[in-house]
Symmetry: C2
C-alpha cells in the first residue's frame, strides 16, 4: 500500500515541522489547518497514520481538562527522555547521561524498567522560570 503526497499531508507536515519541539493538540491542528482548507477528517486520519508510522508521538499532558491527543515531532528521539514545560508546552530531551542515570537508578532501587519513549517529565523550563 503506497502513500500519495497530497496537498493536505504536505500542509500538515509543514505545520508539524514548524512546531517541532512543542506538543500540539489534535484539536489545535484541526482548527489551524481549517483556514488552509484541510478538513478535520484529513487531519485526524493523517495524524493517526503518522503516529502508526512512528513519525510523530502521542503524549499525554496532565491537568488538561479536555482529554486530547498531543503530538510531538520526533525523528531520532529514541532512547531519550523528554521534558515538557507545563506553562509554554515546549518539549525537549534531557541529556543521554541523565537519562541513563535515571533509568539505572530506578531499576536498581525500585526494580522498575522505565520506558524512555513513553515517559515525559513535567515541570517548568528555564524560560518560564521567573
Amino acid at each position: 500500500m503506497k502513500t500519495y503526497e497530497t496537498q493536505q499531508r504536505k500542509i500538515l507536515l509543514e505545520y508539524l515541522g514548524n512546531h517541532k519541539d512543542e506538543s500540539v493538540s489534535a484539536l489545535n491542528v484541526v482548527e489551524y489547518l481549517a483556514q488552509y482548507g484541510v478538513s478535520k477528517s484529513a487531519v485526524y486520519r493523517n495524524l493517526s497514520d503518522l503516529e502508526k508510522d512512528g513519525k510523530i508521538r502521542r503524549t499525554a499532558k496532565p491537568g488538561e481538562r479536555t482529554a486530547n491527543y498531543q503530538y510531538v515531532a520526533c525523528e531520532q528521539c529514541k532512547g531519550k527522555i523528554h521534558i515538557s514545560c507545563i506553562k509554554c508546552g515546549k518539549t525537549a530531551h534531557i541529556s543521554g547521561n541523565m537519562a541513563d542515570m535515571i533509568t539505572e537508578g530506578v531499576k536498581s532501587e525500585d526494580d522498575f524498567i522505565i520506558d524512555k519513549q513513553e515517559t515525559v517529565l513535567y515541570g517548568i523550563c528555564k524560560d518560564c522560570k521567573e
Copy 2:
C-alpha cells in the same frame, strides 16, 4: 458549604480504596458503579470534586486511544515521583532519594525544574517483567 456523606459517595470511595495503587479511568468507574445504581453524573461530579480537594489525582497515560481521565489515590504522595506500569496500570512512588537525585540532576544539567506532583515515569514493573 458542607458535604453530605451520600450512599453514592461512599460507594465511590470504597471503589477507589480498593484500587489504591492503580490508575482507573473515569469511564471504568462509571461503568462499574452503574451496577450499584450510581449514575454517571454522580460519578463524574464526585470524581471532579475529589480532585479539586486533592484527594485524588488526575493523571495522563500515554498510548490510550480514548482520551480519558485517570485517577490515582494519593493521600501523602507530595514530593514523590510516581512510576506507573504500562501493562498492569499499577502505580507507586520511587524512593525519596532517587526523586531528589533526578530533580537535582535535571535541574543542573538542563535547567529544568521538575514538578514531581505531575510527573509519572512509565515503564514495566517487576511483576510484569517476564
